[in-house]
């Protein structure tokens, strides 16, 4: 099995899915001639032509809005938003139309589009290249959200998203685009949406993470003198609630990690589910390690903002001592 970086696995998935299904097309800013600012779409234009790997005008709402119309014409568009925070204009289309249109047609039409984007901080970039916007996307009815943390999952989840009959947003952790390297199955590879992955098993405490926070959780687990389970959610919506509750039942202690701001973040939803459905399994409070409720900072102090191994270890120790 070849070893690929995470971003190479994204590229591999796009090559496989465009080859498999003629109705799949890629569109976005700089995805064609340049092959994407992170090279995620490299080689697609040369192989599949300028009509199936389309350089669009600079218009995020226009990209997603035209993608709605492309679905109505029988296409399966895969839209790239160049960066997390640049995706916000597309929320207009996502909230008003993408998540609602199938419902509006009483199931008569399907909108099998994908929005994929690099997300997250730690990359020493200018303002608004660092956001973790998952909450905005997860909150929209009718839309699914996946966040891979390994090269194999980056390929498999993106393939699943492209094949899914409903709209799916895939957030790709750019911090680990070219640091996470791993074996990726050749050819078609699909990781079903809605199934979490137990990264490592443990008995005393569970760290729940997704995306770029999974390697942080793993390093924290190494540093804690206890048997720690690490759960990678992989899909935020639909959530693998069974896997979350099973792990909570097993360890009784849960630390949730997200790099987005704390208030009403995804970890808050996880905490609420644990409070509703796992209260008698818990041996201590559910703790969150998150970004702060501030704008994502200047990069000289971004390490203080990002959930670090030290902060996760600190939370875990507090919980073990509770």
């Amino acid at each position: 099995m070849p070893e690929l970086y995470l971003v190479e696995a994204v590229n591999d998935a796009l090559h496989c899915e465009l080859a498999r299904d003629e109705s799949v097309m890629v569109m976005g800013e700089d995805v064609g001639r340049a092959g994407g600012v992170f090279r995620a779409t490299a080689g697609l234009r040369e192989r599949f032509g300028a009509d199936r790997c389309v350089d669009t005008p600079l218009a995020e709402a226009g990209i997603l809005g035209t993608a709605v119309g492309l679905c109505m014409a029988g296409w399966r568009p895969v839209c790239e938003m160049q960066y997390d925070a640049f995706s916000y204009p597309c929320l207009d289309q996502l909230i008003n139309h993408v998540g609602r249109y199938r419902w509006r047609t009483r199931g008569g039409m399907e909108f099998p589009l994908v929005v994929r984007m690099p997300y997250g901080g730690g990359v020493r970039a200018p303002e608004l290249h660092d956001d973790s916007p998952e909450t905005f996307y997860v909150h929209v009815p009718g839309v699914k959200v996946a966040v891979p943390s390994t090269p194999a999952d980056a390929k498999g989840l993106l393939a699943a998203a492209i094949r899914d009959p409903d709209p799916v947003v895939v957030l790709e952790p750019k911090l680990i685009y070219r640091t996470e390297r791993g074996e990726v199955p050749e050819g078609e590879h699909v990781v079903p949406l809605g199934r979490a992955r137990v990264v490592r098993e443990g008995d005393d405490l569970t760290i729940v993470a997704y995306g770029a926070m999974v390697p942080v959780a793993e390093r924290a687990a190494d540093a804690i003198d206890a048997s720690v389970e690490v759960l990678d959610l992989r899909t935020l919506k639909p959530l693998d609630e069974e896997a979350l509750l099973a792990s909570a039942a097993k360890t009784g202690r849960v630390v949730l990690v997200q790099e987005a701001p704390r208030t009403v973040g995804y970890a808050a939803e996880l905490a609420a589910i644990l409070a509703e459905k796992a209260i008698l399994d818990l041996r201590g409070p559910v703790l969150r390690v998150t970004g702060y409720d501030v704008p994502y900072p200047y990069w000289q102090i971004e390490d203080a903002y990002m959930p670090s191994v030290e902060r996760v270890v600190d939370a875990a120790r507090r919980l073990l001592a509770f």
């Binding site: 009509d51 669009t56 005008p57 218009a59 709402a61 226009g62 997603l64 809005g65 035209t66 993608a67 709605v68 119309g69 492309l70 679905c71 109505m72 014409a73 029988g74 296409w75 204009p89 207009d92 289309q93 008003n96 139309h97 249109y101 199938r102 419902w103 509006r104 047609t105 009483r106 199931g107 008569g108 039409m109 399907e110 009815p141 009718g142 699914k144 009959p165 409903d166 919506k237 639909p238 609630e241």
Partner: protein, 350 residues
């Protein structure tokens, strides 16, 4: 095909010039008339149904019928229509049952249709956000080698929206076979055109996208038909999108919830009402000797009967149950939908 350059603000007209449109026979002229009467009757009856409490808030389109009918008749059945709420009943011209549209205004799920059945997209409530959809559909059809054209309807206020700009620019760049149909009724609720734009005419916006623009008398069903036919032909010939500004006047409130007396010049409204679009065409056809009292009466009676049957059908829809909340959101719904519905039923049935 002639390109209208910025600066040519003269409205294209047919009726006031007592011209005839090439290619339209007597049967076509009467079909346009029948469509006008159908939409006029739909609109007037809807206002009555609203006052009777039989439909909810309703966006009136009185005096917009010529713009809607003239443009829609320039399309083939395979061409796609993207309506705003002001064109809520335009699907009637494609065979969409009026009961469905009445159900929409009644807030009943039976008010949604499958767009693919009529090539009429869902009614777009937010302003201009359907313009990119129309651009995308037209572009997508072109990529598939399908000959279909799309038309997007929006108002003067919509031209201030980012979605209009992004959709228009996308369509131009992709060479999408699209007609951007702007019904300039000169009001966006209470905001007059001069507070919406400093452009001399909305048609001037076309030049910025590198597409031709046409400015037409929106109260002249034949002029609108002729202009749209030209834009559709351009689109079908692979020459890309066209912007049409159809100038009319909103003589009715924005919607049933609006009282324009606070902001509008009522004398101007009365003056515009004298020139309303159905009456102008009626008089034109009589001058041509095409329309008789008997025919006019027959069309009106047919339309009234259609509406009587439609409201009865809409009111006969069984009430929507709570299960409708969860239907059609996903192809493959999450398990929480099942447990939420079960809990809701337990409480509702208690």
């Amino acid at each position: 095909m002639a390109q209208v350059l910025p600066g040519e603000h003269e409205l294209r007209r047919v009726i006031d010039e007592d011209r005839e449109v090439e290619g339209l026979g007597e049967a076509d002229l009467l079909e346009l008339y029948r469509s006008l009467i159908l939409l006029r009757t739909y609109d007037e009856r809807s206002l009555v149904y609203h006052r009777q409490g039989r439909i909810g808030t309703y966006a009136i389109f009185w005096n917009h019928e010529a713009a809607q009918v003239g443009s829609a008749h320039a399309l083939e059945d395979d061409d796609w229509i993207f309506p705003s709420y002001r064109e809520s009943a335009i699907g009637l011209l494609r065979g969409l049952p009026p009961a469905t549209v009445l159900s929409w205004w009644r807030g009943h799920p039976a008010g949604w249709w499958n767009p693919a059945d009529y090539n009429v997209a869902s009614i777009c409530v937010p302003i201009a956000t359907h313009v990119p959809h129309a651009a995308g559909l037209a572009w997508g059809k072109k990529l598939k080698g399908d000959g279909a054209v799309a038309i997007a309807y929006f108002g003067d206020g919509a031209t201030s929206e980012g979605a209009f700009h992004e959709g228009a620019n996308f369509a131009a760049v992709m060479g999408a076979p699209l007609v951007l149909f702007c019904t300039n009724n000169q009001w966006a609720i209470s905001t007059p055109l001069e507070a919406q734009t400093k452009a001399e005419a909305l048609v001037d916006k076309a030049a910025g996208y590198g597409m031709p623009g046409i400015r037409v008398d929106g109260g002249d069903v034949l002029a609108v038909y002729e202009a749209t036919r030209e834009a559709v032909a351009r689109a079908r010939d692979g020459e890309g999108p066209t912007f049409i500004e159809a100038v009319t006047y909103r003589v009715a409130p924005h919607a049933t919830a609006d009282d324009p007396r606070a902001y509008i010049d009522l004398a101007r409204v009365e003056e515009e009402k004298q020139r309303e679009c159905v009456g102008r065409y009626d008089a034109y056809l009589r001058r041509l000797g095409v329309l008789t009292d008997e025919l006019a009466h027959e069309f009106k009676e047919d339309a009234l009967a259609t509406m009587r049957a439609a409201i009865a059908a809409a009111e006969a829809e069984p009430p929507a149950g709570p299960e409708e909340l969860f239907e059609h959101v996903y192809v493959d719904p999450p398990t929480s939908f099942g447990s939420d519905l079960a809990e809701l039923r337990r409480i509702l049935d208690a």
